[in-house]
Structures are given as C-alpha cells and as structure tokens.
C-alpha cells in the first residue's frame, strides 16, 4: 500500500483492524498524539487528502493512494505555518499535548469560521488553557512579548520550546 505523509512516500501494509494513528506512529510520526483513542479528543487529527479526520478511528487499510498531512507537515520551526506562529505568539498551549490536533483542525478554517469556533472545535479537548488562548491564537491575538536580553522577569514571554511544540517536534 503506497501513500504519502507530509510529502514523503511510504509503502506499508497495515495490520487488519489497525487505525491510521497507530500506523503513523509506527512510521515514527509521533507528532500524531495518542489521546482518547475513541475519536473524542482530537489530539490525533491529521489531514487526509486535505480533509481533517480523527486518525484514531480511521481504518488504515483505506490509505492506498492518499496523502496525509500532520502538524509537522504544515511547517517547521524555521518556516512555520501562520497558524503555528500564532499559537506560539498567543501562548495557545500549556502542556502542548493537544496542540497538534488544534492546529491541524484550525488550519482548515476560514476567517468566516472564527465566529463559530466553539462548535467547530467541539472535537478538540484541552485540559490546560480553558480555550481562551486557543481562541486568541486562531483569531490572531498576540499574548506574548519579546523581552530584551536579561529583562524577561515578569514579562509574558513564549516558552523556549514554543516553536518545537507548535510544529510537532517536541516529544
């Protein structure tokens, strides 16, 4: 079975009953999180031929000829997707576990969708943020600041790992 992940070609034979999430992690795409394992939390969201799905409930045997995009395929720390930059600027995460799913899901939104975010994001769960900073990230509000060297104390700076978290490079 041939398919691509983030533009790279793969050939693999999924086990019967295996879901896409597990297959991707078997291929070292650990940016695809294993969360609820039941299609509820959205941490495993990927784009399948540009359509967002929960990969933990998608049968892997349907992959032939498809194109999968994970959060790592949207951008890199050096060249992030605009939404990845927004999540870093807004402080749109805390522990970062759900972040990949939120970013992949929100990458399909239009500006028109910003007025309907609670409904559109009801398939993504976050235990840290209370969703306020995620809303800010998607709508382009910046909550962090760049501190002058040696003067970060008391300032709302982005965590040093921010760009790695939002691009799926942080374990």
């Amino acid at each position: 079975m041939k398919f691509t992940v983030n533009g790279d070609e793969y050939e693999a034979i999924p086990r019967p009953g295996q879901v896409l999430r597990t297959l991707l992690r078997d291929l070292d795409h650990f940016e695809v999180r294993m969360g609820c394992d039941a299609g509820d939390c959205g941490a495993c969201t990927v784009l399948l031929d540009e359509t967002p799905i929960h990969s933990c409930i998608y049968p892997a045997h349907r992959l032939e000829g498809t194109s999968v995009t994970t959060v790592a395929g949207l951008g890199t720390p050096e060249a992030p997707h605009p939404l990845q930059q927004s999540f870093a600027d807004a402080g749109g995460f805390q522990c970062g576990f759900c972040t990949a799913g939120f970013i992949v899901t929100a990458s399909t939104f239009t500006e028109h969708d910003h007025s309907d975010l609670p409904r559109l994001l009801k398939g993504n769960l976050c235990r840290c943020t209370g969703y306020r900073s995620i809303h800010d990230a998607i709508t382009g509000i910046t909550n962090t600041e760049v501190a002058p060297a040696g003067d970060a104390a008391g300032r709302s700076v982005a965590p040093p790992s921010a760009m790695r978290v939002v691009t799926g490079r942080e374990p």
Partner: protein
C-alpha cells in the same frame, strides 16, 4: 483504536462480497466501530469500496446511500420547493461529534447504530423515509425507518442483511417543517428533539432524543393541546441518564410539540 481481534479485512466490490463469514461485520465509516473494543469481531467487510453514489434524486425520491457521509448529506443543495431542506442541516448539527466526524461517519451507520440520540434516524423518520435492506442471495426488502429502529441499539435488520440506502419521498421534502432540540449544554448530547412536518392536512410529529427510539405521531389536521400532550406523555420508553431525566425530557418534548403546532397556525 486498533481492533486487535480483527484478523481479516475485505474490501467489498460486489453484492456477493456482503455474505459474511462467522465473526465478520460490515464496516461503514468506522467512527463508532473503531471507538471501542469489538471483542466479537474478527473480520471487517468494508462497504465504502462498493462505490455507491452518495445521493441520487429521481422524480419521486431522494435516495441517500448508507455509505453517504454526514458531510456529504449536510452539503446537499436545496431546491426551491424543498421546504424541509433546513431539517437536514439541523439534524446533522445535532450530532454530538464534530465536523471531523461528519467527514467519515455515514448516514447508514448512524441509523443502524440506533442510539437513542441518533439525529439521522430522527431525520429519516420525520421525512417518512424507507430503509432499503439487502439480504443474502440478492433479496431486498423495504420498511419504514420508523419501524426499522426498534429500541436502544436494536434494529429490524435480520442476520445477513445490510442497509443499502434510505429513500425519502420528495413529497415529504416539500412539506412545511419545524424543529426543536435541547441539551444540557449548548453543544451537548441531545436531551429531547421534536420535529413536525405538515402537508395535505396531515401533521406528523417525530419525538426523539428523549426516548429509546424515534416515535412518529400522526394526526389529521392539527391536534388539540390535549390530544398532542396525551400522545406524547403516553410514550413508554423515556429514559433517564446524565443527559436528562425522564420528567424533563417528557416535559420539554410536550412543550416543543405544542410550540411547533402553534407555529403551523
């Protein structure tokens, strides 16, 4: 989740592939099947490879394939005389799952799963849909969806039968309709849902969400308050869980039905 008990997957290519071996089950979208362990399932027969056209419209019916995704149904364009068209979106939006679930979950799966809050069962019942069921050896039978869902996760499917499609008469699509739904949170699981459809002097209420299966209540003309209240409160399968008590579900259903009736006058 991975279904570790599954040892074989067959992609159905023709109707003969739908004859199931012991331990096999049919796979639609898979959003429910893969959401919890299926210890009794050892094989999957994937319906999506049959290539059924999601939606077909003839002179008489709107036919929705069992493998039509909820997203495809929600995107169905209206026609000038389809007064009932908004019901489709309302019922799709009533699904607890997000739009990402819509992209994979199927209409047939939602109906055959027969959960009490299944919004597409309610839609099909409200629009007088007929279920087209394929049986072994090329047999076929048709029954109203109102008779197809018989209880909580119980359907009238016989062993070896597969839902092929539901057929909605276009006359129902031309009816005046109304919709009410409530949940304990704005985007929560349905606590009670009532749909009304009115055409040619007949008023049809569909009561769902608060009962174990959708119920159709048919009246000639508009029912009186007493008749409508009596008919709804006489339903005997209201259920109680974290998403609503029996009394609340029943009271809201009566309230909604009366509101909808009044809107028709």
């Amino acid at each position: 989740m991975d279904l570790d008990t599954v040892t074989s997957v067959r992609a159905a290519r023709s109707r003969s592939d739908l004859v199931l071996a012991p331990g096999e089950t049919v796979l639609g979208g898979g959003t429910w099947l893969f959401s919890e362990p299926q210890p009794s399932v050892s094989g999957l027969v994937d319906l999506t490879s049959l290539g059924w056209a999601p939606i077909t419209i003839s002179d008489e019916t709107l036919s929705i394939a069992a493998t039509c995704t909820i997203a495809q149904l929600a995107a169905l364009d209206s026609r000038p005389d389809w007064l009932a068209h908004p019901l489709i979106r309302e019922c799709c939006e009533s699904l607890l799952g997000s739009f990402k679930i819509w992209n994979v979950a199927t209409v047939g799966g939602n109906i055959c799963l027969a959960l009490s809050a299944a919004p597409l069962s309610a839609l099909a019942v409200a629009l007088d849909a007929t279920a087209v069921l394929w049986g072994p050896y090329d047999s076929e039978r048709r029954i109203p969806v109102a008779d197809f869902v018989v209880g909580a996760q119980q359907t009238a499917l016989d062993p070896g039968e597969v839902m092929r499609s539901i057929e909605i008469p276009l006359g129902a699509m031309r009816s005046h309709v109304g919709f009410r739904r409530i949940a304990l949170s704005p985007l929560g699981r349905t606590g009670a849902m009532v749909i009304v459809r009115h055409s040619r002097g007949e008023t049809v209420f569909t009561v769902a969400g608060g009962t174990l299966r959708p119920h159709q209540l048919r009246f000639t003309g508009l029912p009186t308050t007493a008749d409508l209240t009596t008919a709804i409160t006489a339903l005997d399968d209201w259920f109680d869980d974290a998403h609503g008590s029996v009394d609340w579900r029943r009271a809201m259903s009566v309230r909604f039905a009366l509101q909808l009736r009044d809107e028709l006058t």
